[in-house]
């Protein structure tokens, strides 16, 4: 306990140099602008910023990326409130009440609520990050080949189930990602798979160029395919966050923070699901249900707290299992590897201070969004009005530069182009892109651990289903899949209703 506090204090002290603060403020601002501009996502922002951090020290680089990530998720609320267009998918839930408040002439108050919700959400997630990472790290040490194999399958299945509107398509995207990870030299015998004699493919598909393509170029194509829309921005009042809003809805804030963090921990799910889940839970528990969707302070607070709490949550599995909790966290994972940080079960043994460095970075980023939340409102409104015909070509040029700069080879630019077109087509056909990304990250884990496990058991599949953690994960995977099979779901719903009724009867309560 005190070791953790000491390490956190040490991390904060180590980051209080003028240069670090400058980096943090700059990155938060860039993230905020990226998040505020409709069509530009946090994943794209973090992926593009990874390029700029290549010559920085690992801690500076991760600080810049975390600030960009937090800034972008917070920034999405600006366009959600002012334009009724979520700047990032994470802010879709904020449109409902945020824009309704703006239409009532309370856009400033809505932005203040978004600021306070985002800051408090980040703090709750940060606290969970500090508390749970060592515990989960310890648990991760018990993972063997069998557990890691199921973890990879579980990640793709849950991500496919929750990130889109059609789980089957999410799973297909996830398995496609797993296959893409198999391209190139495999890890056991250095054998070239599916390279078709192309030398550059031997190293596999780079995660950053693929992400820049799937989230950058694909976004440019998606945004530009439709004619431009005229934006109307309502006038707004004062933007200073009110402590009263947080105190009045403290239960909602804490609940949303915890839900957001939990959603972050679940592999590949991300901020949009966290925001919607927090919003739905707040609505269920609210005494003012009728206000939801019509300018509810509580609803907006829940959505904004949930999506920002998801960020530290998404970093927890990155640090403990090297499995990303969201798409931007996948970029963060790749950036950590590029900078020589080895996240995974051994992090609490090899580099425990880094976990608290990350906690300190989150705190600094939260102060960054608080600072800009109070000072930059008018400038951000002007940025929102910049025509997309000026922004999109700039983004595409940055995508090309970002893909190239990682390894200084044109092949990565072509990978970016390919993944841009794939990402665009997937969106067009209603396939979510997040499971694809998670699949690419988890592919290597699945491949190596399946084969290792089979060698260890000499081809016997029993350990894959009998070891406790494996059994739990397999049961969870089967349950998720079966819940999407209508006859099973009907029976399950009927059975759970019967159990609820029986329990009520047992405890003497009536419906």
């Amino acid at each position: 306990m005190f070791d953790g506090l000491f390490a956190f204090g040490h991390a904060i002290a180590g980051m209080l140099s003028p240069m670090t603060i400058l980096y943090a403020l700059g990155a938060t601002l860039i993230g905020l602008v990226i998040g505020a501009l409709p069509g530009l996502t946090a994943t794209m922002g973090v992926a593009l910023m990874t390029t700029l951090t290549l010559k920085m020290t690992p801690n500076e680089a991760i600080l810049v990326l975390i600030c960009t990530y937090i800034g972008a998720i917070y920034g999405g609320s600006r366009s959600a409130i002012l334009l009724n267009i979520p700047g990032t998918p994470a802010s879709a839930a904020s449109c409902l009440d945020g824009h309704a408040l703006a239409k009532q002439g309370l856009a400033g108050r809505a932005m203040g609520i978004a600021t306070s919700g985002s800051v408090v959400g980040t703090w709750i997630g940060m606290l969970c990050l500090a508390l749970f990472t060592p515990v989960l790290g310890e648990m991760a040490l018990k993972f063997g080949a069998y557990e890691f194999f199921w973890l990879a399958v579980f990640g793709v299945v849950i991500s496919g189930n929750l990130t889109g509107t059609d789980p089957l398509k999410g799973w297909i995207a996830g398995f496609l990602g797993l296959f893409i990870a198999a391209i190139g030299q495999e890890g056991m015998y250095a054998y070239d798979r599916f390279t078709f004699g192309i030398h550059d493919l031997s190293g596999g598909i780079g995660l950053i160029p693929a992400l820049v393509g799937a989230f950058g170029f694909a976004e440019v194509l998606t945004v530009m395919k439709d004619p431009p829309r005229k934006y109307i921005i309502n006038t707004f009042d004062r933007v200073i966050p009110r402590i009263r809003d947080v105190l009045q809805y403290w239960r909602t804030v804490i609940r949303s923070g915890l839900i957001g963090t939990f959603m972050g921990i679940v592999p590949g799910v991300g901020e949009d699901v966290a925001a919607w889940s927090s919003y739905a839970a707040a609505r269920r528990a609210s005494k003012e249900k009728e206000k939801f969707g019509k300018g509810s302070v509580e609803g907006l607070m829940a959505a904004e707290t949930g999506d920002n709490a998801c960020i530290p949550g998404a970093v927890i599995p990155v640090l403990t299992l090297a499995v990303p909790g969201s798409a931007p966290a996948a970029v963060l994972l790749a950036a950590m590897l590029i900078h020589g940080v080895r996240p995974g079960p051994l992090i609490m043994i090899e580099n425990p201070g880094f976990v608290y460095d990350v906690v300190a970075m989150m705190l600094i980023a939260s102060f960054g969004i608080l600072f800009y939340g109070l000072t930059l409102t008018k400038l951000l409104v002007k940025i929102l009005l910049v025509p997309r015909t000026l922004i999109m070509p700039l983004i595409f040029v940055l995508c090309a530069v970002g893909a190239f700069a990682i390894a200084s080879r044109m092949f990565d630019v072509y990978v970016m182009l390919g993944f841009g077109v794939i990402g665009f087509l997937l969106r067009l056909f209603n396939y979510p892109v997040a499971p694809l990304v998670l699949g690419i990250v988890l592919g290597d884990i699945l491949d190596k651990n399946l084969r290792r496990g089979l060698v260890l058991s000499d081809g016997d599949l029993t350990p894959f289903i009998t070891r406790p953690i494996s059994a739990v994960m397999l049961a969870a995977i089967l349950f998720i899949i079966l819940m999407n099979v209508p006859p099973f779901r009907r029976r399950f719903d009927a059975a759970s209703a019967a159990v609820k009724l029986r329990l009520r009867q047992l405890f003497g309560r009536t419906a």
Partner: protein
Amino acid sequence: MMQEDKPSPRADLWSGLAWIVLGLAIAWGGWTMDRLAYLNVSFYTIPGLVPMLLGFAIAFMGAVLLLRAVRAGALAPAATGGPVRLADHWRILTMLPLCLIFAVGLLGQGVVFWLAAALFIAAFVFIFEYQDRRAAGQRLRGAVVAVAYGVIVGLTIQYVFEDLFLLRLP
């Protein structure tokens, strides 16, 4: 969650078919992959094992998608259309070649980066603002703005990446 435009059952039918073909091709690639017998590699660790399993999984899910599309009426005569009508989208048909010309034809082909970026951005801005500029009788002004914006952005990116952050540009 935000509701997106759902593709038609016909579109799902075609994508299901595409996944079946891709999945079977991957499985075939895994099956015919070298089993490294000269290294006495166990069957459980052959390089093609995982691609084979993934290929079958993708093909199976493609088949489920296809069956679902058929049950939703994909084979009915009226089930035409869908979200993919690229011929109707001049924007995408203009933009894709423009991006390809920049990324494949200009970058890494000896053209200095700022100039390549300036040419691409100027062309992009001019083309996509053309209708509005023409309606406002500002075609020449539109061209000047596009070129100026392209040059400024090209030079700025080159300066930031090469001089400030010491990174190589294509």
